[in-house]
Symmetry: C2
Subunit: 340 residues, 2 copies
């Protein structure tokens, strides 16, 4: 078993603006796991706000040593050993976990959703995320994005109400909003959410800074819309701590360490009565397709990452009737594109 | 897809005595799911104390209607529909769930543990359960059961201390004890558990009646040994409610509705920091083998059900180095025996 690691610079189609800053590219790491004539593909994207660097992820992955005669179907043993070798670095584990799952599915000749017994009819519609922009740009993009059933707005600035009003004028599709920790005042947030609730908004992500548990709990107790934790939710412990603080959790492969962890977190969140959103970074069709296989387990999906990038090295899951749908091909179901 | 349902009377090798009564047979229901030339086998045993009858389970299973063109790999859709048709009857769902998983594995040509990516090296040793008996009989059986690494004693009567002392004299292997709700007094129970803790006992199952949450919470806070809920634990809601009341949970396919539910419960229990025991009824190699595939996810196993019965219609998982180990054959890995 041989792991090939490629640092990769994801180029965004348009600058991506959040309340915490703007960027035109995302560092990423691609992983290829070669075994018995097959290749498993994995990826993790590393937006700077997460605090994990491309170099650290590559260095950690270089440290992984495989057993002499690995059983690639023994995912638990391989991932447990790899997690221990990688230390506390979820994105490195995510890249490896996706590659191992892809290889696993290819060996068994089945797509992951089939091996997991999941029902593609339960894939929720995925939202298209519009980054912070002028109201006219929001309107133009919302009108153009006819293939998406839900539009997600990045908020957290002084013009939130104007942006939502603009989007609402341009489309009657449901919206979701993501404050990216940008709000500060409890009462103002609650007031705004009441206003949003009258405008066909589905949920609100991460209103306040992640560490402000009391503010989120106060808001969740009163909010007419579900309050979803994102920056506050990385691994399983955060899902368990979310009860009483959030109504739901945004689970992303890059944050939690890949498909094995995300699947367990989706199971636990549902059991605890939490709503689940499966999300992504600005990332290639590799990581987004992997997440799409899990999406029948989630209440909502926000898997538009590959639609936002200009240099996707893969083809994979496709938008069908607004749902990002895995290809019925073994593993995660992606194909490398021929180099341009 | 065609379901054949067979009521079956399991005959016990010896009368099985608990603090709640004794019996020489267990009613069961066998299920065969025929599809595309393959047969998936399922089973549920119905010890009377659970309160579910063989007739009710058979009648419920007769009501299941399959879609015209079912996709047997879409386990979630089939099980969700079946659960709804069966109503709130976990043992009926368990028989069907095992048969569907067996068929699923046979279609994919792989044992379930491989499809789940589980590590057989993590299978815990299974205990042999000795039912209530005179101290001499306990000693004889403990000495004979050389292939088991753990002996489980059924307690809950006036002679508990004498029985444990007798077993301890006969073997130095670890013991576990199951009071089957037979204890009444908090202080006496705690005193006894301190005595047990000095005698290489691993854990204590269901000391008091299941509904006595306060007594169990009081005991769990003080006990030097893990306190495990069994009769108190049926489905997922009971696992979640177990935090702060028990240190761990005994998960059985017959109680919770089969492999899908048990797997989710094992995931949730671990995430919540609960210990997990995977248990069984006095049942055939069919249901016991199914549980063995999940056992790498549990801390302890008590999968001796098929060893206690006289008319096992299947061969399946085998005891290897004290661990009940699934055969490396597709699905649950059982074979019907030729009729005698």
């Amino acid at each position: 078993m041989r792991l090939v690691i490629r640092p990769f610079a994801i180029e965004l189609k348009e600058p991506f603006a959040l309340s915490v800053g703007s960027r035109t590219s995302t560092p990423a790491v691609l992983a290829e796991l070669h075994h018995a004539g097959l290749v498993g593909y994995g990826e993790v994207a590393l937006p700077p706000y997460l605090g994990w660097t491309q170099a650290a992820v590559c260095q950690a992955l270089e440290r992984v040593v495989w057993p002499d005669d690995p059983d690639p179907l023994n995912l638990d043993a391989l991932l447990t050993a790899a997690a221990s070798a990688l230390g506390d670095l979820p994105p490195a584990l995510a890249a490896l976990d996706i590659a191992l799952h892809d290889l696993f599915g290819k060996i068994l000749g089945q797509p992951l959703y089939a091996l997991w017994g999941l029902d593609l009819a339960r894939i929720p519609p995925t939202s298209l995320t519009l980054s912070l922009a002028a109201p006219e740009a929001i309107q133009r993009k919302a009108r153009q994005a006819t293939e998406y059933e839900i539009i997600k707005l990045k908020l957290g600035g002084p013009d939130d109400r104007a942006l939502v009003a603009a989007a609402r004028e341009a489309t009657d599709r449901p919206l979701s909003v993501d404050a990216n920790q940008g709000w500060r005042d409890r009462a103002a947030a609650l007031d705004f959410i009441h206003w949003l609730a009258e405008r066909n908004v589905l949920f609100v992500e991460q209103p306040f800074p992640a560490r402000r548990l009391d503010d989120h709990a106060w808001l969740a107790e009163r909010s007419p819309l579900p309050i979803i934790g994102d920056e506050a939710i990385r691994g399983m412990a955060d899902v368990i701590a979310a009860r009483g603080v959030y109504h739901g959790v945004n689970i992303k492969l890059a944050k939690c360490g890949g498909l094995r962890a995300a699947r367990a977190m989706l199971t636990v969140a549902r059991a605890l009565g939490l709503k689940t959103l499966i999300g992504c970074m600005t990332e290639t069709s590799c990581a987004v397709s992997a997440a799409a296989h899990l999406s029948p387990l989630a209440d909502w999906a926000d898997l538009d990452g590959a639609a936002l990038i200009a240099n996707d090295p893969f083809t994979g899951a496709q938008l069908i009737a607004g749902r990002l749908t895995p290809r019925p091909a073994p593993g995660i179901g992606v194909e490398p594109r021929a180099p341009a």
